[in-house]
Symmetry: C2
Subunit: 543 residues, 2 copies
């Protein structure tokens, strides 16, 4: 249904054609229909009460609620925001601890297993595999979020919100994927992840890298190809909706460190400016928190690792955001979500760690996908709420749309995995409208979670037993795979997968969108032009 290659303009038209008033129901994954049948009436009734509550709030504040979505990298449940874990890990996160006490701590917030997929999932409300955004790319890339994906920024823009994006997008390096081309009024964002600026350049290599990226560290005697190393990648750009982009600072450890503060300032400035306007705002602030290079850091945390230093700075930065909302007098009309995008990169140096679950970033086990997550909304969310329900990052899309009056702009021509979870924020624990999650790693359907049970599909062979059934209450670390005890669940899980697969046949996944990198950036450096050429040549190969 979706064309593979189109012009940028036609993609926009195609994307926005779905943004029309539409009474049709949102197409959720098959599993949701099973729940709808059991709870449809109760939910419809509850929805009326929710509408009443939201209208009352809108009347009080004169506009719909602001939404601030803060999302950082690689941090599983417990790593921030829970005091006893601070003691175990040897650092302090007082502001997130307070956020947990003042609002919601989620104990089963599921994401995709890595940065790019989770960010795409939040933007689109869809499993990342549906938009082809299932890999984590490093430069050179030449790919990104397709224009015809409808983002929460597009939906909330349509619903009358100001929208801003700051810090880490990691949604590709092709023009259609840029945040200001994906619905944000204003954006300053990173195209890739943090490893290139932190570790690849001279000052960073001392940290941990294999040598070889920079010219000075390149073996020379036998060197032939001088274009193979991805010099000229772009770290960070800024742009406004409808305008071209500009590179901000060229990549280096020093500039990356500067950018962490610059993004924070931009986010604060956005809040200051938008607080005064008549329109509500949606701020996606996804900070580049990590700087795992010990060089030059003045680490004061007991833990002694760059990681702890980074986490403590993140905590201060989030505190500043919360303080600014308060200072502007808009806290009570602002939902703040603070969460990680996936579990810790346990391969990384310097104590990024998995404290409770097993596995980490990239893994379908709980440690990869069950993250630190908090919400605050004074006066709406009850203090000290702990939500043990299953809720996923995809749900934020649908929930934000609902809160912003944008549900009608959610496209009805594709599967939307996100469920409206407004009830969880308004009524607390035990109110989730989902009890399942299909876990993908890359393009593979790796596992399925239903209630407290989990079955791992990856590595399974038809007709043969596979011992990968888990009771997540009794075995949250997934260390005791069981089969005999779970024979009763064999069939129900099979049926669940079958329903999911049949829906996927009807609504096929969009292939990964490839293109020429750095188009639409006006101030390309000579190295960046070389980089662009390398990628172009790659994709022209064989044509």
């Amino acid at each position: 249904m979706i064309k593979k290659k189109t012009t940028l303009l036609s993609l926009f038209v195609l994307g926005f054609s779905a943004l029309t008033l539409n009474a049709q129901k949102i197409i959720h994954d098959a599993e949701q229909a099973i729940l709808e049948e059991q709870y449809g009436n109760a939910w419809a009734k509850q929805d009326k009460d929710i509408d009443k509550k939201l209208k009352k709030l809108e009347k009080r504040f004169g506009k719909k609620p602001n939404i601030v979505h803060i999302m950082w990298d690689d941090n599983s449940f417990g790593e921030v925001g829970i005091p006893v874990f601070n003691k175990i890990r040897g650092y302090d996160t007082p502001r997130l601890n307070k956020m947990g006490q003042d609002g919601i701590i989620f104990t089963r917030m599921y994401t995709e297993p890595s940065c790019t997929p989770t960010r795409a999932a939040c933007l689109t409300g869809r499993l990342a595999v549906r938009s082809g955004m299932y890999t984590v790319a490093f430069p050179p890339e030449g790919a990104g979020l397709p224009a015809e994906e409808v983002t929460i920024a597009e939906i909330l823009s349509e619903a009358g919100y100001s929208t801003g994006f700051f810090a880490k997008a990691h949604q590709g390096d092709i023009e259609e994927s840029y945040m200001h081309n994906q619905g944000f009024d204003e954006a300053q964002f990173s195209l890739y992840n943090q490893f290139p600026p932190i570790f690849w350049h001279e000052s960073g290599q001392a940290g941990m890298m294999t040598i070889g990226y920079t010219e000075s560290m390149t073996e020379k005697k036998y060197l032939v190809d001088k274009t193979w190393r991805p010099y000229g990648y772009i770290m960070d750009v800024e742009g406004k909706k409808g305008e071209k982009a500009k590179e901000t600072l060229p990549p280096s450890l020093e500039n990356y460190r500067k950018l962490i503060d610059i993004h924070q300032e931009k986010a604060l400035d956005f809040i200051k400016r938008k607080a005064k306007e008549d329109k509500p705002f949606y701020l996606a602030y996804w900070p580049n928190m990590y700087d795992l290079n010990r060089n030059g850091l003045d680490i004061t945390a007991s833990n002694g690792s760059p990681y702890s230093h980074n986490v403590e700075r993140l905590d201060r930065h989030i505190g500043e955001i919360l303080d600014e909302l308060k200072k502007q007098g808009i806290s009570e009309n602002t939902l703040v979500i603070a969460m990680a995008d996936n579990g810790p990169m346990t391969e990384a140096p310097a104590a990024m760690y998995q404290t409770v679950f097993s596995g980490g970033k990239g893994d379908y086990r709980e440690g990869g996908i069950r993250v630190a997550a908090f919400a605050e909304w004074p006066g709406v969310i009850e203090k000290g709420t702990i939500v043990g329900d299953i809720i996923t990052c995809h749900d934020l899309f649908t929930t934000f749309a609902r809160l912003g009056g944008g549900t009608k702009y959610i496209p009805r021509d594709r599967i939307i995995d996100g469920i409206d979870q407004t009830a969880v924020f308004l009524y607390g624990d035990g109110q989730s409208r989902r009890d399942y999650h299909h876990v993908y790693t890359g393009p593979y359907h790796a596992a399925t979670i239903k209630q407290q049970y989990k079955r791992v599909w990856l590595g399974g062979r038809p007709g043969l037993v596979k011992n990968d059934f888990y009771d997540l209450y009794q075995d949250p670390k997934e260390i005791r795979g069981m089969m005999a005890q779970f024979l009763w669940a064999w069939g129900p899980f099979d049926m669940m997968k079958k329903r999911h697969d049949l829906m996927n046949e009807k609504y096929p996944f969009t292939p990964t969108r490839h293109g020429v990198p750095f188009e639409g950036i006006t101030n390309l450096r000579p190295e960046s032009l070389q980089y662009q050429k390398t990628v172009k040549n790659t994709f022209n190969t064989g044509k």
Copy 2:
């Protein structure tokens, strides 16, 4: 210095000879002298303030504080008393959660790695290996806590306390080891652990056991020795100081289940009676909480395991104790400690589990020795305190003695590992007077903890590298053993062990005390007499 075989009477005399007014300093392990040198003056100053505070309290309440020490089996940090973990594990512990909020949550309370050693350590303030109490015995045993060990019950009795012991002692089956012979005015206690009554008898075997203990399940055709199976063990006895003991209920699953409630009632009754008296009281209530046999349990917890059912009952029972203290109006003059004796028995059926750390019961890794632990003392302990300091179960001995005015009765002829940690209860986090712990498993010195570092000795060979150094902040699960990074700590750990070993040469360990089981019990069953004979014959072999 301590005779190996003496009469019961002479042992008492030897034991109590230390209970004389003594201005000499307590002999701590060598490591403490290093700290004393650095902090002696500061501690002496703080001690004066502590004395003032305690005197003020005594004046207010007209007596020294009551002490309630509740200690249950096999439960590591997080398993109870912390709301977010309740959600992860699928059961609720509201009363312990509230205790944590109202008092102290300890995040580094270390015990010995199994039941008998930890209980001996609490009673004596000494590493269990020093009193020969380093193994976990099952019937037939014929061993137990030596009479010349000076228990906290003896010390507090001397200091004018009423003392009561209820539920699981597991301190042996020889007369000198009985709780009412070890300083308690009144006691009802189990001689062994819970496995025999839960699983060995007819009704329990369905649960999980190898068949073969009961007569009906014994292979018969080739059966020769009819005394080999330990029929006739005694589950539970009661006795009063200076009197003989009586068996209460003979072992069976049904009687074991009855006893859980009976012990609870006895503990409550003790509080009711003693609250009104002029003397303060010391209550050691160490409940037999577990009943991992699913048969006949009405499990309502989400987790669905007998374990969760047991934990929820424990929580209710502890709630009843706290309620009773309140009802009697003595909460504010009562220190309550609630804690586990060691990590979970991860080999056990039905979801006893290690949620944060690695390893479990019997293991020198954190999972074996870093337990769930809480303290409450309204008006003295500040609400919401989280103590990240190292504190060990041995310290409770010395601390209870201090609180009860019994420090002078602590013997000065042996090493006392317990440190007076009164400051932690009065001033909170960061006040511990120790930063180390020597970990023994059985008779082996398995590991040494100093600050956030840990070195594992077990399996090491002189002159060869061993990769078992850990940073417990950066790697609380002890999964990344490191050596090169810890070469700086090689020497300091070696010195620490050397100091410890030299002290042990000067004050040798007491060998495990053996004897005839069940002496001093007046109502022995015929099977118990047979059991007694079997053990007697064993120890007479070769004489």
